[in-house]
């Protein structure tokens, strides 16, 4: 027996939407406002030298430093060096990752061969492989591109593999019944099905690429954002160091934006 609940008798009770708090509410102004407040606080902290500017330069000072680096053009040399490493590593990793992922996802023999290799190499932090890569490929560009490629390859290959495994088998049946062979199924069913997973892999990958490019440039390089940050730190040029960090933040935001746009363009059937 359920215990009778004693509650006061009401004239009328109006039903409320209990899911109200779940609704997505946007506060664009609040985001901007809080960001500005933090910047202002920071500016104040440095201006009044509550923290020595050597440790925490003011945002305005960092901006000024960035501006002069922009005018003299030194900054472009570093950005260009890092970007080209990222781009090459990324391109190689994505194309290899997609190919290998489809291969081991779709065919049983490559799967049997590839899976244990990937399982064994995936957990090794890629930066730990860098010395070996330098030994093999020299201190130049190749070893840096290789370490980025390695780092991006794994999330890509795992994403693509998972994607292939999760392709709706009914769609494959439909394609077969309409006359597709295996090669055509890869092109016309598997590839479009895994596109969202490829983009997810790219988004994961770009974070890793940024991490690895900086690390590799700190180990051995004569240009690049990582190199710039490290030398600035050695010389106690905190403002320059901060400019490096801001560039990295911008790069991350830029790539995310780019991938979002590309995804919209290439996956128009997504709601």
């Amino acid at each position: 027996m359920i215990k009778e609940v004693h509650q006061p008798l009401v004239e009328k009770a109006i039903v409320q939407d209990k899911t109200y708090f779940l609704q997505v509410k946007e506060h664009p102004w609040l985001s901007l406002f809080s960001f500005m407040v933090i910047l202002l606080l920071w500016e104040g902290v440095s201006r009044f030298e509550w923290v020595p500017p050597l440790f925490l330069p003011a945002p305005s000072a960092i901006l000024l430093e960035g501006w002069t680096m922009l005018k003299t053009g030194v900054i472009f040399k570093h950005i260009f060096a890092s970007l080209s490493r990222i781009l090459w590593g990324f391109l190689i990793a994505c194309s290899l990752g997609v190919m290998v992922g489809i291969l081991i996802g779709f065919f049983s023999i490559p799967e049997a061969i590839g899976n244990p290799i990937i399982a064994a190499t995936f957990p090794i932090p890629k930066i730990a492989i860098l010395p070996l890569l330098i030994l093999w490929l020299g201190i130049g560009e190749a070893s840096k591109v290789a370490v980025i490629a390695l780092g991006v390859f794994f999330p890509m290959v795992i994403n693509v593999y998972t994607g292939v495994k999760n392709v709706d088998p009914l769609l494959i049946k439909a394609a077969l019944s309409l006359g597709s062979n295996r090669a055509r199924i890869i092109k016309k069913v598997i590839l479009p099905s895994i596109l969202p997973m490829i983009f997810a892999g790219m988004k994961l990958g770009i974070g890793i690429a940024l991490l690895l490019v900086v690390a590799a440039e700190m180990v051995a390089a004569d240009a690049g954002i990582g190199f710039m940050i490290l030398t600035a730190a050695d010389l106690m040029q905190t403002k320059k160091l901060m400019v490096g960090l801001i560039i990295l933040s911008f790069l991350g935001i830029f790539f995310n934006w780019l991938f979002q746009k590309l995804e919209r363009f290439f996956i128009p059937w997504k709601q």
Partner: protein
Amino acid sequence: MRVVIDHISKIYIDRRGERTEALRDIHFSIEENEFVVVVGPSGCGKSTLLNIVAGLLSSTSGQVIFEGARTDSKPHTAVVFQDFALFPWRTVLKNIVYGLEERGVKKEEQFQIAQRYIALVGLQGFENKYPHQLSGGMKQRVSIARALANDPLLLLMDEPFSALDAQTRTLMQYELSRIWEETHKSLLYITHNIQEAVFLGDRVVVLSRRPGTILEIIRIELPRPRGEHLTLEKKYLEYVDAIWSHIKNQAREAMEEEV
């Protein structure tokens, strides 16, 4: 041309080695231009049978033979699935031309054929919509058009309307009846709905509960074209009744077994 389903049996063996006998010695044939409906209780192996005929599953014994057909070793069939199975990345038009692309039909011809079937299923104006922009009934029309455009020797349908609501379902039955009278494709249609079977079929194959065996094959001698008026006729109701009395005991036993 005729399609002979020659003593088909199917036993599923899962990873742990457990055996499920789905079909036992199914034997019947589908004549040219004939509309054959298979009815049977849930789980009796109807989808299994259809997949075997479509070449999407191998039988344990027995075979499916296309007699007197112009074909290679892979006879042309096309399946309309219960869950539509439309390619989400392809528009209506692109879905319909899929099979034609695979057969190397020229672009303009693909387009013309597609237009014809789009008109047949009444989807003009939706050519460039994606599947997610369509209602369930419209999706199934696309799926039917896609199968027909491929000009199969045998069209296969696995409970094509059971994902639809009752009203849409009834309307789609009338639609299919009309479409079939225009095309007269050999058709193997699967359903668990007896009214639907009698309304649509030239012959109805009644399966027992699992393992599916043929209880009876009934020829439906009702005039065509068939429309809404038919469902009130005495003869139609007699057929429905006859099949129901066959299946009733089977369904009851199956239910009692589950409890």
